[in-house]
Every structure is written in C-alpha cells, then in structure tokens.
C-alpha cells in the first residue's frame, strides 16, 4: 500500500490461507499491508472470506498457512498484548444474559486488564457518548438493534485502541442509526486505523480511503478507493434533452448509426447510451454532442450511470471470474 517498513505497518498479512477441516477454502493466499491512518473497506459478497480474514487478523482463528502481523508482531490466539490495542466488533455482537451496559462495559474493560481507576471513568464517558445513559441500568436483553450496536461500539473503544476492526457495523441498523455510525467512523478515522467490512458499498465509498476486494477467498484488489474507481468501465450514460420531439428522434436515429454505441434508447426526452467495449468514451460522446448540435437539440444534463464503487466492485469480480485458470498467475491479479 505504501513504501513503509514492515515493522511500522499496523496490519500485515503474507500468503494468509485458511482451510476449514480440509473441506472449505475460506481464504486463499491473501497478502496485504495496512499502514497507520488507513481506513480500509473490506468488500466482498457473502462467503467471500471477509469475516475469516478479520478473525485471522484478531487471532480468533489460526491460519492454515501464511501469517498475520499486527503492529509488527505475529498474531496468535494468545497474543493478548496485541489485542489490547485493537477494538473489535463482530458481525452480530452477542451479550451475556443479565448484564446492563455498565456491567458489560466493566466486564470488557476488565478483560483488557484495565484497573478500576482507569476503567470506571472511561466506561461512564462512553455510555454518555453513545447515548445509553438513560438505559445504563437496564438489562441488555431488551435492547433494540441500534442500542446493541451502540453498546458494541462503546465496548470496542473502551481500551482506547489504535486499530479498530469492525465487521459490518451498519448491519441491521435503521437509516438514522446508520448515518450516526458512518459519522462516528469518519470522526475516528482522524486518529485511528480502521478496517471496516460491509456489504453496503455506499458506506465504504463514504468513509474509507482504501479498499480490499475479496472474491471466493482471494484478494482481487487492494489499494486506494480512487484507484478502484479508476478501473471502472464507464460505458453507460444518460442524457436529458430539450427541443422539438421530431428533432430529438432524428438525432437518436443518427446516433444509433454511430459504431461506438451498442445500445441507444430514447425514453421521452432521456437518451440512454451504452458504449461498445473498445470505444473511447470522450470521442464517442463528442460525436453525440455534434449530432445533437446539428439537429438543434439542447443538452440539459449528462451523467455516468451507476454507483461508482459498486460498479467498480462488480467489474472487478466479473473480470476475476472471467479469467478462468489464468487467475493462478498472481501477477495478473494485482
């Protein structure tokens, strides 16, 4: 990800592979490096290996092959001193029965070995910060999804970690709670390194500056989000037009004759254009604009269609799957 020495990396994995009971290959040969201050969005469809990767990084699972280093040291199930610097939220956080937010956060803080004079003020501040003050003495069992998510956030911050690993933090949240969560991630990203896994690509687009894409357990992209978007094929455009309907229809017929476009459709005054694979976008659009000008049709707006990150992600996965046996050559995967 950058030219930083290995010991300064927050997370580093090398040929990380996880095979469950010789039956399921969950992760295959994943090598990535995460430098301080990065906000990494982990993308992938269901079963792509996102949670497995996170569990390997945090030491809940042991790699079948390869290794994971956190803060320059090997992560193992017994590396408690490394996990003291990590805040983790699992996909569906579970809480012990009969606990209240106060007792739960106190329990979590004691699991980090925090003495009483440190943990008590900290848990009080966090309960206030995540807006659970009014229910701080109530049993967690009756909490809504939003409240449990906020409690999980507080638990992941109780040790003031340098690295946050949040597995689908917006999962099951209503729009308001989701918005708050994204704002919190943005705030935290100013001083911490984050790994956020999500199905929701717009979330990743909003809060992350780096992305890693997993497909069937293999890392098919790791780099900046901008680069990922740069790989996108921009081949679908929409143009809103104004002018006489007869002139618009005539322009559409002329545009259909252009070899750069494979599909041209007109719906009322909106023209949809799909470029051929090999066509150059700018040149093709220049021809369209000239045709419209010749027919005295006014262009109101022009836009590239589809969410950029989502499209880039889908393009990557599609490209990876179309490579067939060629995917064994790692050089091409990068």
């Amino acid at each position: 990800m950058a030219e930083i020495s290995s010991s300064n990396m927050v997370v580093e994995t090398f040929k990380l592979t996880k095979i469950y009971q010789n039956r399921q290959i969950a992760l295959n040969d994943v090598t990535l490096r995460l430098e301080p201050g990065c906000v990494l969005g982990l993308l992938g469809s269901n079963g792509a290996g996102k949670t497995t990767l996170l569990r390997l990084i945090i030491g809940l699972h042991r790699p079948t092959a390869g290794w994971a280093k956190v803060f320059g040291k090997f992560m193992t199930p017994n590396a408690a001193e490394l996990r003291r610097r990590i805040g983790y939220i699992p996909t569906n956080p579970q809480f012990p029965r009969g606990m209240t937010p106060i007792t739960y956060l106190d329990y979590m803080a004691r699991l980090f070995g925090l003495p009483k004079d440190v943990r008590k003020p900290r848990l009080a501040s966090l309960i206030r910060a995540v807006d659970l003050l009014r229910v701080s003495g109530d049993s967690i069992a009756g909490f809504s999804n939003g409240m449990t998510a906020r409690l999980a956030v507080a638990a992941s911050l109780i040790n003031e970690p340098d690295l946050l690993i949040w597995d689908e933090p917006t999962h099951g949240l209503d729009p308001e709670a989701r918005r708050s969560m994204l704002e919190l991630i943005k705030t935290l990203s100013r001083e911490k390194t984050l790994i956020v896994s999500s199905h929701n690509l717009s979330d990743i687009d909003e809060v992350c500056n780096h992305a890693a894409v997993l497909s069937h357990g293999q890392l098919i992209y790791c780099g900046s989000l901008q680069d990922l978007k740069g790989r996108m094929r921009r081949n679908h455009f929409e143009l809103d037009l104004e002018g006489e309907q007869k002139a618009i229809t005539k322009s559409t017929t002329a545009i259909r004759a252009l070899p750069e476009f494979k599909v041209v459709t007109l719906k009322h005054r909106r023209l949809e254009l799909y470029l051929q694979e090999e066509a150059v976008g700018a040149a093709a659009l220049a021809n369209v604009l000239m045709t419209l000008n010749d027919n005295k049709v006014t262009l109101v707006s022009i836009r590239s269609v589809g969410q950029q990150t989502e499209q880039a992600f889908l393009d990557l996965v599609e490209k990876e799957e179309s490579r067939g046996f060629a995917r064994i050559y790692q050089a091409e995967a990068a």
């Binding site: 017994n78 996990r83 579970q94 029965r97 980090f112 925090l114 003495p115 040790n159 003031e160």
Partner: protein, 257 residues
C-alpha cells in the same frame, strides 16, 4: 506530552482478565437453570431421605446409623447427579463458541487465562455447592440419626468425594474446550466416564478405584480408613485432573473459536 505518554502506556493488571472470566462464569453458572435444578434436586432428595430415616427411628424405634445413610447420600450426589454435572461442565466453553466467545476472546485475554478462568469457576461452583450440601447433610445427620460419625472421618470422606468430583469437572471442561458442540461434549464426557468406571472396576483390589472407595464410605465416615490408600486415590484423581486440564489448555490455545 506526559498525558500522551500516560495514555499510550496504561498500566494493565495481568490477572484481571482471568479474574473477570472467573467471576462472570460463577455468576452465569449460579443463574443457570441446570445448576438450580441440581441444587433443588439434591436438597429435596437429601431432606426427604433424612426425614424418612428419622421417621423410621422416631416412630418405629429402628436404629438408623448416620455413617451408612450419609455415605449413601454422598454416593448419590456423585453418581446420581453426575449427568447434571456433565451438562454443567461440558457446555462451559462450547456453549459460548462462535458468538459470545468472540466478544471475550477478541479482547486483551489469552486463551490460557480464559480456559483457567472457566475451569476454576466451574470447580469453585460445583465443589463449593457439593461441600456446602455435604456439610449440611452431616450436621443434619448428627441431629436426626444415630450418631456414629467421626469428625476427621467426615472431613476425609468429603475430601475424597470432592477429589473424584474435581476429576469429573476437569474432564468436563476439557471436553468442552475440545468438542465442537455442547451435545457432542456431553455425550463424549458421559461415555468416557462410563468406560473409565467400567475398566477401573477390573483393577486388582490393591489399586484404588472410584466404586470401591465409594463402597468404603460408611467406614471412612466412622473414622476407620486407610489414610495412605485414600491419599493415593485422591492423588491419582488430582493427577488425572491435572493431565486433563493441561491437555485441554494446550488444545484450546491452538484451536479456532
């Protein structure tokens, strides 16, 4: 600058995670319906049995020797409630795998501390309950039945049964750390105990075995016991516990959760 240094290097209490797991597990066990069912069943059975025997003595004038009846009660607690103790211990770790364990093991705790916390909590809860029930039974027997108990014999009997129970508990927690599901863990533990008990019954008389030791309980309670033989039995039980715990500890520290 000092504040930053202080924030970056907070003091950690090394054994606090172990203690947190221990306390949480004791609280969780005391709240579980299995534990409450076990205590209720044991108390009702003990009270009912003692009152029945007391009635026989009080109304029929039949002499009821405390040593015989207390030994039977202790045997029942070990054998009769073994299934419940299996459920209590074999689910200690497996029941939390995948969900709750994530929330705990992803914090600043090592697998060793987690296993030790769980193991010691189950030992403390089950043995504490057994010893409380045992002492209450002995005191009740002193008042209600024909007293032929000796103090040292009673303490030795409780210690011997506690050593046996400690082995069962340790095996349970170890199986729980190794098995993938609670039901499988209970089945494996129960089979292990049955097979071990059956095989040990074939041991020559000079070797201590659980069934022979439990048969001698009435004499032990009267104060007639071979201290060396019983110490040997307790020693073997504790050794088996130690070996099982070490295996569980080593296995759990290397497995996925």
């Amino acid at each position: 600058m000092d504040a930053i240094a202080e924030k970056k290097n907070p003091t950690f209490n090394r054994w606090l995670p172990y203690w947190a797991v221990f306390q949480a597990d004791v609280r969780q066990t005391l709240r579980s319906w299995v534990y409450r069912f076990w205590v209720l069943l044991s108390v009702l059975a003990t009270v009912g049995y003692l009152l029945y025997r007391f009635g026989g003595y009080h109304e029929g004038g039949i002499v009821q020797t405390a040593s015989l009846h207390v030994s039977q009660l202790l045997r029942w607690i070990v054998l009769g409630s073994a299934a419940i103790v299996c459920v209590l211990t074999a689910g200690s770790i497996t029941s939390e795998r995948g969900t709750m364990a994530d929330s705990v093991l992803s914090r600043g705790i090592s697998r060793y501390q987690y296993f030790l916390g769980k193991w010691h909590a189950r030992l403390a809860t089950v043995l504490g309950t057994f010893l409380t029930l045992g002492i209450a039974t002995l005191i009740s027997a002193l008042f209600l039945l024909h007293e032929d108990l000796s103090l040292d014999g009673s303490l030795v009997a409780l210690a011997v049964v506690a050593a046996l129970l400690a082995t069962v508990i340790t095996l349970g927690v170890t199986v729980s750390a190794v098995a993938n599901s609670t039901v499988l863990g209970i089945a494996v533990l129960w089979s292990m105990l049955c097979v071990a008990g059956f095989l040990m019954s074939f041991l020559p008389p000079r070797y201590p075995s659980p069934d022979r030791t439990l048969e001698r309980l009435p004499y032990i309670l009267q104060g007639n016991y071979d201290l060396v033989g019983l110490a040997q039995f307790a020693g073997w039980s504790l050794l088996a516990s130690g070996v099982a715990a070490l295996f569980g500890l080593a296995y759990f520290s290397r497995r996925d959760v």
